[in-house]
């Protein structure tokens, strides 16, 4: 019974959270109020762990909440609930696209959509740049210009950027190398 409820709750989140993993957080917050399955402190921990393990954040969140509520079965059920609406909707959209791909209106829509998608991804990149290279809080607190920049991270950024330009290795190689550098140099 609780599994059914888990599936239903996460199906709802999957259906209404538009715009990626972070969009699930407000829904989980109200789920915590409504069910008492986990506290707000638990939620904060879950967010931290979801962000520091591989995988999409929304999927990690549903796995975590599901596990806390009902072990492995809960973990699988909550995540399947979360992705079920995506799968259904995307299959419908993809089927539609396949039939109307050559339609001139559909083509014009995509002509406008593609640069928008690029712009949105650039905005996501900008968010992460702010988060990892710049230290606005420390700068505001101290007023020292040097504290605005996270020097170690910026050096790593430049090295990685140059390395990626020079050697077209698999992205995973750079992620692994960065992780090791991070541990050694305490970034």
């Amino acid at each position: 019974m609780i599994l059914l409820k888990l599936f239903y709750e996460f199906f709802k989140i999957g259906l209404f959270a538009i715009g990626g993993g972070a969009a699930t957080i407000p829904f989980l917050s109200s789920l915590s109020d409504a069910t008492g399955w986990f506290t707000k402190t638990d939620l904060a921990n879950m967010i931290a762990i979801s962000e520091s393990t591989p995988g999409a954040i929304g999927v990690n969140m549903s796995s975590y909440v599901g596990f806390e509520v009902y072990g492995i079965a809960g973990c699988v059920t909550a995540t399947l609930g979360l992705v079920a609406p995506s799968v259904i909707i995307i299959i419908i959209v993809a089927g539609f696209l396949k039939r109307f791909r050559e339609n001139s209106t559909v083509k014009s829509v995509f002509y406008g959509l593609r640069p928008a998608s690029t712009g949105l991804i650039a905005a996501a990149a900008f968010e992460i740049v702010k988060l990892s290279l710049i230290n606005i809080d420390a700068f505001c607190a101290s007023g020292i210009l040097m504290e605005l920049f996270n020097i170690k991270n910026i050096i790593l950024f430049i090295i990685l950027f140059a390395a990626m330009r020079k050697w077209k290795l698999h992205p995973v190689f750079y992620i692994g190398a960065a992780a090791i550098v991070g541990i050694i140099f305490k970034l």
Binding site: L15, I18, G19, G20, G21, A48, I49, E51, S52, T53, P54, G55, A56, V59, S63, F67, C75, V76, L82, V83, P85, S86, V87, I89, I90, I91, T105, K107, S108, V109, G112, L113, R114, P115, A116, S117, T118, G119, L120, I121, A122, A123, A125, F126, I128, S132, N153, L156, F157, M164, P171, Y174, I175, A178, I180, G182, I183, F185, K186, L187
Partner: protein, 179 residues
């Protein structure tokens, strides 16, 4: 059957190496799906991201479903998605069961701080690649910059931005643009 298994495994691998949310998936999907296997073109991946942004659900799951569907219909869409979420389920179950303070471990924090820097570079590389196929004239350049500014500095929902951009494309082509 072999294609389904391959889809599952490709997306399983992506689920393992996708750090820092859906956008980090981009460079890896470009490498694995576009360059290596030709399951989709770079342009199609950009389309999938655009649609994934304005349809419900996790963006990377939407993209996985799209790629799977394109290769092998409904079964492909489901299998690719299952492949992508399996590592999350396994890893989170292990972390939740055994390591209660995982996110507080110093080494994990340092590693992730550096991984975030790496993800920055990877996403910027992906944006530069996408720019080539999406920003092709003045209107598309204006759309790209306007969306970037609106998404970075205002609270306007990405859904609205994507709808406006699509409408702008249609109006422009109807009024006088040529196909």
């Amino acid at each position: 059957m072999k294609l389904l298994l391959d889809l599952y495994l490709v997306f399983f691998r992506m689920g393992i190496v996708c750090f820092g949310g859906g956008y980090a998936l981009l460079p890896i999907i470009q490498r694995e799906v576009v360059d290596k296997r030709g399951y989709a073109t770079a342009e199609e991946i950009n389309d999938y991201f655009a649609i994934g942004q304005c349809t419900p659900g996790v963006i990377s799951v939407n993209v996985a479903t799209f790629v799977g569907y394109k290769q092998k219909g409904i079964a492909g869409g489901i299998v690719a998605t299952l492949g992508f979420i399996t590592p999350s389920i396994l890893i989170i179950a292990i972390v939740a069961a055994f390591i209660s303070n995982f996110a507080d471990i110093q080494a994990v924090r340092h590693a992730f701080s550096a991984i975030r820097v790496c993800v920055c570079v990877l996403i910027i590389e992906a944006v530069l690649k996408f720019r080539k196929s999406s920003v092709i004239d003045i209107l598309t350049a204006v759309i790209c910059i306007a969306v970037f500014i609106a998404a970075s500095f205002t609270d306007v929902s990405p859904v609205i931005l994507v709808i406006f951009a699509g409408a702008a494309g249609v109006i422009y082509k109807k009024i006088g643009g040529k196909h």
